[in-house]
């Protein structure tokens, strides 16, 4: 630093030659330069160091960033800073995304560099100071950003090729194509088209009969009829519901039996939620009923606050936020956890409905979009005022009956376990009295026969009148080398020296007995004292409210575990307890039972008849009560306004412990159309106002029509469907997007009407076809001169396989089931969506349910090939299909034809039939050569522990032991594994 100062001074002196001039330069800097840098550059170029550059000190500017020094003193025209602000290089225009600096400001900067770039304090620290008082204001040019503009129905452009354009959409598409001298390729053939429509709308292929009917329907409305029929099919909701669930980052709980939120952990995918699926089914139904999208949005945010008449129908929608994540459990730091829960909600709401990345403003104002940290905090206040709530879907009586019975069961269970526990302790105490006998017997045996076996023990136990099992345990224990406590050292030394005298042994054994008899009551006293302490623990009200939002408080009071200090016994005494009386299941200790530890059946032989019958009676009571448990009542996982809504304080640099000014809960200024501060909400939490504000913003309709478009064309008009901000994609067809958005609103927010309009366009019905001329201009098909080649999502791959083989269980709705369960044959939509998803799903790019997903990636890896080649799923479907073909015909040629019709919805060519026959005969030879007994292979099971062992409860086995695949099974497997089956063109 001194060096820098020195350098600075030398330079100043050299340039100016006088102290007064130097002072003038400093004043010039402070008045004309520093404000320009502060206002335009500091957001990105101080601590954040974008492009490696900091501009908050002279030395930083001289050092520069990734592209080299930012300034060359005395040479403004060579300085990168000047080139950047003058927009000399198209790739380096600063301020990024902002308005170009005024000419006068640029002139000042040039002059400053020319005259020595004087900076009064050489270190960066002082220069950072001005950032402390940012007044957030939205610049006019930011307000002008395209996505914030009101939706305006644009004029429909004129086109040259009027014959091609069937619909308004087509005129927008064609106008762009013509502008770029591109010609759309031909229309898709009918077979490709019907397949495309089926997959797009219901995620399943047409049957051969449905294809035939379409092919022979020459009416002009043939395709429109197909579209209408598909839109009316209940499978439509399963298909499009899933698209929305990607955005909503929907996840089920695990299938552990305890139904309530037990442990979500810190996002560690552990939860015990049982009723998540009611939201999933609601989403599918909403799509099927063509619920107006504005209502769809509002319901998911504020169904509980909507008019009474709709409420019951809409309440399940609250699962959107009610399912969580809620971070509970030991692993949680309360303040951070609450902040992260809110962040998740802000994220999914702002990206999902608005295409805005509001969470970028968690730690500081958004770097690119006009969203302030206050906006973020204001939205956070809404969710801080909305706690978790369960709405019961059963009469109060039923709920009460269930809860009462559950209480009774729990009470009986705990009485039983307490009695069993006490009995076990009594047994241990009795056995402890006999310790000398056991120890002396061990001495005798080990001296005589150190390699004693089970039979030897039994013999000795009988003669010495000892319990044989207990005796063996003593033998093992006393002859083991590792003992943590010091009390058997003398005994071990005696044994090492050849066993000592009988008297010596007797004495040491009695000493140890006395020790154990002292340890047992000591431990009992400690347990009793701790139970008392826990019983009397009362968290104060404040503490409780910090802990868990809303109704989640009913489940756990974990904080006291962390701060409460239990009574403990002497450590060495406890080791004796662990070794002799009872082991403890804790990572700190060896995993083993105590010598006297007997459980359930093993314990019985030590009990009196009276004790046994009491235990039996208690057991019977538990069974009877459990049997009488009424079925669990249904409920919804949702939100409810807290009694007292709160406002949050700014988290300085995103740190929830470093609090700044309070921000009234509300909505980002840029869409709330306020001056710069968030639009305040006052009605309760503000959720209803939030929902209203969202659907009134132009973003709501634009974002949703873009999502619909995205799933029809494989890419959105805006290719960053959840980011309509500065860093997002710009629309390829802005006018079309606004046309669609205005149609959407005018059509009463009908999603189905949008599908219809899109699918009846010539643009949608284009073929997938090459065109070198077009590729040269638009290789990525941004302008839609052809259809895209698309792989099916994993849901459609699995569902189609089950469907074409006739195995699909088409029942709708209901609780999730494990995808690995071979008896689970419903659509993949209903498979358990854990926060750590099934391996098959992730293998095919299923999105991470911990974050909202705007689109799925499509990757291509060998492990996917292995799925087609070796998985039980594909093998089993191939078998079913083969069986069906063999039954339907006894001629191989006919079977091949039939197979092609079923799997590819088309007849096989002659060459394909020949190739098939050739394969079958060759495979037949190999089949006969293959050994009769196939290899035994089972799927591997490796999962992180955090994922809940219970989730992988033993599953029914797939079938009888695997048999060799017949040639026909091999053939059908190849069909199901071929690209034509799982790509659409």
């Amino acid at each position: 630093m001194n060096l820098v100062r020195l350098g600075c001074c030398v330079l100043v002196a050299a340039v100016s030659g006088s102290a007064q001039q130097a002072a003038e330069k400093i004043e010039f800097f402070e008045r004309r330069i520093r404000p320009v840098l502060t206002n335009n550059c500091y957001t990105c170029h101080t601590d954040t160091k974008l492009g490696g550059l900091q501009v908050n000190s002279r030395v930083a500017l001289l050092t520069g960033g990734n592209s080299g020094p930012a300034i060359t003193v005395g040479k403004p025209d060579d300085s990168l800073l000047i080139r950047a602000v003058m927009h000399v290089d198209p790739n380096l225009k600063m301020p990024l995304g902002g308005q170009k600096l005024k000419d006068s400001e640029i002139a000042d900067l040039k002059y400053w560099i020319q005259t020595g770039a004087v900076w009064p304090d050489g270190d960066a620290k002082a220069a950072v100071a001005p950032i402390a008082s940012p007044k957030f204001s939205i610049k006019p040019e930011q307000r002008k950003f395209w996505s914030f503009q009101p939706i305006q129905k644009p004029a429909v452009p004129a086109v040259k090729d009027t014959a091609w354009a069937k619909t308004t959409i087509d005129r927008f598409i064609l106008a762009k194509l013509e502008e770029n001298n591109l010609k759309p390729v031909k229309q898709a053939d009918k077979r490709s088209l019907i397949r495309r429509a089926y997959y797009d709308l219901i995620g399943l292929p047409p049957t051969p009969e449905q294809v035939d009917a379409f092919l022979s329907d020459n009416s002009p409305e043939a395709f429109a009829k197909i579209v209408d029929r598909l839109l009316a099919a209940p499978q439509y909701g399963e298909r499009w519901g899933r698209h929305w669930l990607d955005v909503a980052h929907y996840a089920d709980g695990s299938d552990r039996p305890d139904r309530r939120p037990v442990f979500l952990g810190y996002g560690q995918a552990r939860d015990g939620y049982a009723e998540t699926w009611r939201y999933r089914d609601w989403v599918a139904q909403a799509f099927n009923q063509d619920m107006p999208y504005d209502q769809f949005v509002k319901a998911q945010l504020a169904a509980d606050l909507m008019p009474e008449k709709d409420r019951a129908k809409l309440l399940p929608a609250l699962g959107f936020l009610g399912i969580g994540p809620w971070f509970t459990g030991d692993d949680v730091v309360f303040v951070e956890a609450r902040a992260n829960e809110r962040d998740d909600k802000i994220d999914v709401v702002s990206k999902g409905f608005l295409g805005l990345t509001v969470t970028c403003a968690r730690c500081h104002n958004h770097k690119y979009d006009p969203i302030s940290q206050k906006d973020y905090t204001a939205m956070g206040g809404i969710f801080a005022s909305s706690g978790y709530w369960e709405y019961n879907l059963a009469p109060e009586q039923q709920v009460a009956a269930y809860q009462n019975q559950q209480k009774k069961v729990k009470a009986a269970e705990s009485a039983l376990s307490e009695y069993a526990d006490q009995s076990a302790l009594r047994v241990a105490e009795t056995l402890a009295g006999q310790i000398p006998q056991y120890m002396l017997a061990v001495r005798k045996v080990s001296l005589a026969n150190p390699k004693a076996q089970k039979a030897d023990f039994e013999k000795v136990a009988e003669t010495e009148k000892l319990d044989s099992e207990t005796f063996q345990r003593w033998f093992k224990y006393l002859t083991a080398t590792e003992k943590l406590h010091p009390y058997l050292k003398a005994w071990d030394a005696m044994m090492a020296k050849g066993g000592g005298t009988d008297a010596e042994a007797q004495k040491l054994a009695e000493d140890f007995r006395d020790m154990v008899l002292k340890v047992i009551p000591e431990r009992k006293a400690v347990i009793a004292a701790n139970e008392e302490m826990t019983r009397n623990y009362k968290p104060d009200a404040n503490e409780a409210s910090v802990m868990l939002p809303g109704d989640l408080m009913q489940f756990e009071l974990f904080q006291f575990k962390q701060q409460m200090v239990q009574k403990v016994m002497d450590t060495n005494h406890y080791y004796v307890w662990l070794d002799v009386v009872r082991g403890e299941n804790d990572q700190s200790f060896a995993k083993k039972d105590g010598i006297f530890q007997y459980k359930s059946k093993d314990l019985l032989r030590f009990l009196t008849a009276e004790e046994k019958s009491k235990l039996d009676a208690m057991q019977a009571e538990v069974s009877a009560l459990t049997k009488a448990m009424p079925p669990e009542y249904p409920y919804l996982m949702a939100l409810k306004d807290e009694a007292k809504p709160v406002n949050l304080k700014l988290n300085i640099r995103g740190n929830p412990h470093a609090l700044g000014e309070e921000v009234h809960r509300g909505f980002p200024a840029i869409i709330g159309k306020t001056d710069g501060d968030p639009l305040p909400f006052d009605e309760g939490s503000g959720r209803m106002q939030l929902a209203d504000a969202i659907v009134q913003s132009p973003l709501a309709a634009r974002v949703m029509v873009n999502r619909i478009w995205q799933h029809h064309f494989g890419r959105g008009i805006v290719n960053t469907p959840s980011d309509f901000g500065m860093m997002g994609d710009r629309p390829s067809h802005p006018e079309l997007l606004d046309y669609l958005a205005s149609q959407f609103i005018a059509g009463g927010w009908s999603i189905k009407a949008m599908h219809r309009e899109i699918m009846l366009s010539a643009a949608y019905q284009e073929a997938y076809q090459a065109s070198e001329a077009n590729s040269a201009v638009d290789p990525e098909n941004r302008l839609i001169w052809r259809a895209n080649f698309r792989r099916l999502e994993i849901e459609s791959i699995r569902d189609s396989m089950l469907y074409v083989t006739g195995n699909l269980d088409e029942r709708l709705g209901g609780p999730p089931q494990n995808l690995k369960n071979p008896n689970f044959k419903k659509r993949t939509f209903y498979a358990r969506a854990s926060r750590t998803p099934d391996g098959l799903l992730t293998l095919f790019d299923y999105p991470d349910p911990n974050i909202t997903a705007e689109q799925r990636s499509v990757t291509n890896v060998p492990l996917q090939g292995l799925f087609f080649m070796n998985s039980d799923l594909v093998n089993n479907q191939a078998n079913t299909l083969a069986a069906r073909l063999l039954q339907e015909s006894d001629n191989d040629e006919d079977r091949i034809q039939r197979a092609y019709r079923i799997v590819f919805e088309r007849p096989a060519t002659q060459a394909e039939v020949q190739r098939g026959l050739q394969f079958l005969s060759k495979a037949d030879v190999l089949f006969k050569q293959a050994p009769a007994e196939p290899m035994a292979v089972q799927a591997p099971r490796a999962r992180p522990q955090a994922v809940n062992d219970e989730d992988e409860a033993p599953l029914p086995r797939a079938s009888a032991p695997a048999t060799k695949m017949t040639p026909w099974e091999q053939y059908t497997q190849a069909l199901l594994s071929s690209g034509e089956f799982y790509y659409i063109n």
Binding site: L50, G51, N91, L96, G97, Y266, V333, N340, T357, N530, K561, Q562, Q563, M564, V565, Q566, V568, E584, S588, F589, G714, R715, N719, T720, D723, M727, Y768, E780, F789, R791, R835, T842, L843, N850, T852, V858, T859, N860, V861, P862, L863, G865, L866, M869, N870, A923, L926, M935, A936, V937, A939, P940, A942, P944, T963, K964, E969, Q970, Q973, S978
Partner: protein, 467 residues
């Protein structure tokens, strides 16, 4: 930055091409010193193809041994004689926030011995590592953010405190691809222990960790769908020929489709993987001497497998060993240390003997360390354990260009807080990427409006850890 906005990946395929460069188009262009050219419509490259690093790397492979639960630094590699002196006395400064209520200072119950050229003290828990201590670089000044497992496990493995960010292994394979196309580039060896999920989060799913159970003796059962119980390879080859004919005929009919061409390719790789993968996982093929060196039980099987995988060209292997969370009784470290000491030492020695240590970085990490003060809170049966400590903990590095025999950073006299040269987890990540030839600020992925990095908005390369 600005270029990125001008050239957004316009299709998923295009995006894949962007990934293939291993970093954003803009930084690639900057690196290559030429403007970004319009993407050609050719094949969407294999995302596993090896990619050039940003600069010459020292390490090409990484093996992480993750000790989940929290390794106690003061009972292992950060000897504190003052703890003996102040045993049972209160900490002379304010106790920082940990998970549970804590008490007075507690000496280490384990004895320390000097090892290696520098006489580095290592506790009796790690005699094998002790004997090889000159091959390791000890970082004694690690810090993290939250004293709870969940967040800190995520921090150590993904660079952020919550779920939903890619694992370090995912980032590395995204950045560099992997050398063997018949095996996944990021393999996680676990006995069913934790470590969070190994998803690639917003990175394409090809970069997720492939979980393999290391205690499964039959190599054919270790990777999902690896073998077919109902057909032999000759039959399957015949079937694959048929399938490929179908694919090619479809390809002809649609006039070419890069996606389908890639599928045809990867089916062939899948077929080869069936023989190659079981081979590499079959440690029974090792010599008796080698097997003896790694010992039995614990993570010996995993360490040996890791070496075999790296030998094959797998980019990133992570071994997860859980059970270190000894709040009640630090003596529990005896069991866990026994599981890992010999195998880790053997791994490093083995790599060295085979000339592989130079370009293989071995990292031994834990989400945090443990307090020098007693753990009191929680339902504990005894008070002989230690709580979580994010203020100063130890990780080990070996090979891959790290400084052998180095010791970096110090904690205070009691081993609670860093006294000198703090290394945040972000810094460790930046350094690991640097050793791999990757600039942590340039290894970015655009997701939802912003460029994400393994190191978030922080991280600095710790030059002193580099040989």
């Amino acid at each position: 930055m600005s270029d990125k906005r001008l050239f957004p990946p316009s299709t998923r395929r295009d995006a894949l091409k962007t990934f293939a460069n291993g970093f954003g188009l803009a930084s690639f262009a900057a690196l290559a010193g030429r403007p970004v050219e319009a993407a050609s419509p050719a094949i969407a490259g294999n995302p596993w193809t090896p990619k050039p690093p940003h600069f010459a790397p020292k390490a090409k492979h990484v093996i992480v041994v993750f000790l989940q639960g929290g390794l106690s630094q003061v009972d292992s590699f950060d000897y504190k004689p003052m703890l003996d002196k102040f045993d049972g006395k209160p900490l002379p400064f304010e106790t920082p926030r940990t998970e549970f209520a804590t008490g007075n200072l507690m000496r280490s119950p384990f004895t320390f011995k000097k090892y290696g050229k520098n006489g580095t003290e290592v506790s009796e828990l790690f005699p094998h590592i002790g004997q090889n201590i000159d091959d390791f670089c000890i970082v004694r000044s690690m810090i993290s953010d939250i004293p709870n497992h969940g967040p800190s496990v995520y921090m150590m493995n993904t660079g952020t405190i919550r779920a939903g960010r890619p694992q370090m292994g995912s980032w590395v394979v995204y950045g560099l691809g992997t050398e063997d196309q018949n095996l996944p580039g990021f393999i996680v060896l676990t006995a069913g222990g934790g470590g969070g999920d190994f998803s690639s989060a917003f990175l394409p799913a090809v970069y997720q960790g492939t979980l393999v159970p290391y205690n499964q003796p039959d190599p054919k059962k270790q990777i999902q769908y690896l073998a077919n119980a109902r057909m032999n390879l000759t039959q399957q080859r015949e079937q694959l020929d048929l399938l490929q004919d179908m694919n090619k005929s479809y390809l002809d009919r649609v006039d070419g489709a890069p996606e389908l061409e890639a599928t045809i390719q990867s089916m062939e790789v899948a077929f080869r993987m069936q023989t190659e993968a079981p081979d590499v996982f079959d440690t029974r093929k090792e010599s008796k001497e080698t097997l003896a060196k790694y010992g039995q039980g614990g993570i010996s099987q995993a360490c040996l497998t890791a070496r075999r995988l790296v030998e094959k060209g797998v980019r990133f292997v992570q071994i997860v060993h859980a059970g270190w969370d000894h709040h009640a009784d630090i003596m529990g470290h005896k069991f866990t240390a026994h599981d890992v000491d010999q195998p880790i030492a053997a791994l490093v020695q083995d790599l060295k003997e085979r000339g592989m240590l130079d370009d293989t970085l071995v990292l031994v990490t834990s989400e945090f360390g443990r307090t020098p003060v007693l753990n009191l809170g929680g339902f504990r049966s005894v008070h002989n354990g230690r709580d979580h400590n994010i203020y100063g903990f130890t990780v080990l590095m070996a090979g891959g260009g790290s400084k052998a025999g180095g010791i970096y950073g110090t904690t205070d006299d009691f081993g609670f807080k860093v006294a000198e040269n703090p290394v945040h987890v972000h810094d460790l990540h930046a350094t690991v990427l640097h050793l791999l030839g990757l600039n942590h600020e340039k290894l970015t992925f655009k997701y939802s409006g912003r460029n994400f990095r393994l190191t978030d908005v922080a991280g600095r390369v710790v030059k002193d850890l580099i040989a």
